[in-house]
Subunit: 265 residues, 2 copies
């Protein structure tokens, strides 16, 4: 299982200020910490970047590429920022992401063809609402794949994010059970071994004690892994969650188990 | 998810000596500790009880029933001990267990009819070997159910244990992936919502550091829960594993999630 760190976020005041001041040091420190913690990919959650989108994303990507060779996910809804980031990156870089929302189909999906990069597709309705059950998720997945395919992209470029529901939603737990079935069935449904990604922190959005949040994330991660999830977008600074991901890897990804694969707890 | 504590074992010298000396105090202390730790059921692993089987099992069951109302699993291969234990118990009590092994079909399975109790059936070949894949597991499950049904028992009395493989086996991880698929498919296969149980400690049999054992158990438990496992036979004295079971319960067993259901970590 691939661990994509979600720690670099514009909602972190230190990161927001570093981008505002074009100061690479806090960004470099964060990236080094993610890599040391065991991250395999790094998500750069840059927010909408409404001011100076190209300049800011170029700065951010260059600051990151200066300190790591890890693959990056460019996480912004701003197509201009995405284009600049993809042009500036020296690392394997994917777009995070598109959905059936008309503006994303029109302005973000084509960037994956232009830059020949991977792209994450969210299983959301065109109005960004979450489909209520597996049958609706399947409908959205087929429509998303159709749009992806018509944009001239290769199957190998697609990563599907079926969107984990917060457990505080009345039907959140039930939705996530549908989501596990969907992850298991997607390769058969689309006819190729499509990769999947899921954002673990979504699960515990809302007011609950932090230890409960982490407990729930550590319990949901193996369910996702057993369903065939390829990549978990998660807090890389939770060592127990990282260890859980490694334990899942040992049990799910290879034919032969070796506990030497595990980070020593 | 039901937590069945596997802590009371004849391999524990304190328990072995308590049974040898007919001293109920260490047994009572162990049972109280299991219940306080969150156990829902208690497995009484009495070993083969080759000497004084009826007397010893009666003593053990009476010592346990004196301090708890929790359901019990009588875990011995000795049919005489089982009969005595079932006769002595005042708590809901199940037999753990039978398999396609001829002596167990002949002498243990009939006890479930005689005492009208639940019984655990192991998915093992008649020679007690582990079937290698899901298709073989299905064959054994059907044969086991056939024998169970012919013994005049009701579907509601059956609990299936598909036998977790140790990860140190060359194909252990692969076997356990087949096992997850089997647990998911068993209700459709048998045509009723059959209950399943799995022994978590089997997973980490062999030489590996204890923290790694517990990490693996905590990661495998949610996979079992998501597949539909009803009961985990496990070490109730691992609070993090108990918490993981409760987190699985909150996500898998009910339509509505409440983190208040979780034991405060």
């Amino acid at each position: 299982m691939i661990i994509a760190a979600d720690n670099l976020r514009i909602t972190d005041p230190t990161i927001a200020m570093a981008i505002e001041r074009y100061d690479p040091a806090p960004i470099a420190a964060m990236i080094r910490r993610c890599e040391a913690a065991g991250a395999d990919w790094i998500d750069l959650n840059a927010g909408p970047l409404s001011r100076e989108p190209e300049k800011r994303m170029t700065f951010l990507v260059e600051a990151v590429c200066a300190v790591t060779r890890l693959p990056l996910l460019l996480d912004t809804v701003n197509p201009r920022a995405l284009g600049a980031g993809l042009a500036a990156s020296r690392n394997p870089t994917a777009i995070n992401g598109f959905s059936l929302e008309p503006s994303k189909l029109a302005r973000i999906l084509p960037l994956a063809r232009q830059y020949g990069c991977d792209i994450i597709g969210y299983l959301l309705y065109p109005d960004s609402q979450v489909p209520p059950d597996e049958s609706e998720l399947i409908g959205v997945a087929l429509a998303l794949y159709d749009a992806f395919h018509k944009a001239g992209l290769d199957d190998s470029q697609l990563i599907i994010d079926p969107v984990v529901a917060p457990l505080i939603w009345a039907d959140g737990a039930q939705h996530n059970r549908h989501l596990l079935a969907l992850i298991r069935n997607l390769p058969d449904l689309l006819g190729f071994p499509v990769r999947t990604i899921a954002g673990l922190s979504n699960l515990s959005t809302g007011r609950m004690p932090k230890p409960v949040k982490h407990l729930l994330q550590r319990a949901f991660l193996p369910m996702l892994a057993a369903a065939g999830l390829r990549c978990a977008l998660m807090d890389a600074f939770q060592p127990e969650t990282v260890q859980t991901a490694r334990a899942c890897e040992a049990m799910c990804d290879s034919g032969i188990f070796s506990w030497g694969q595990l980070i020593s707890p």
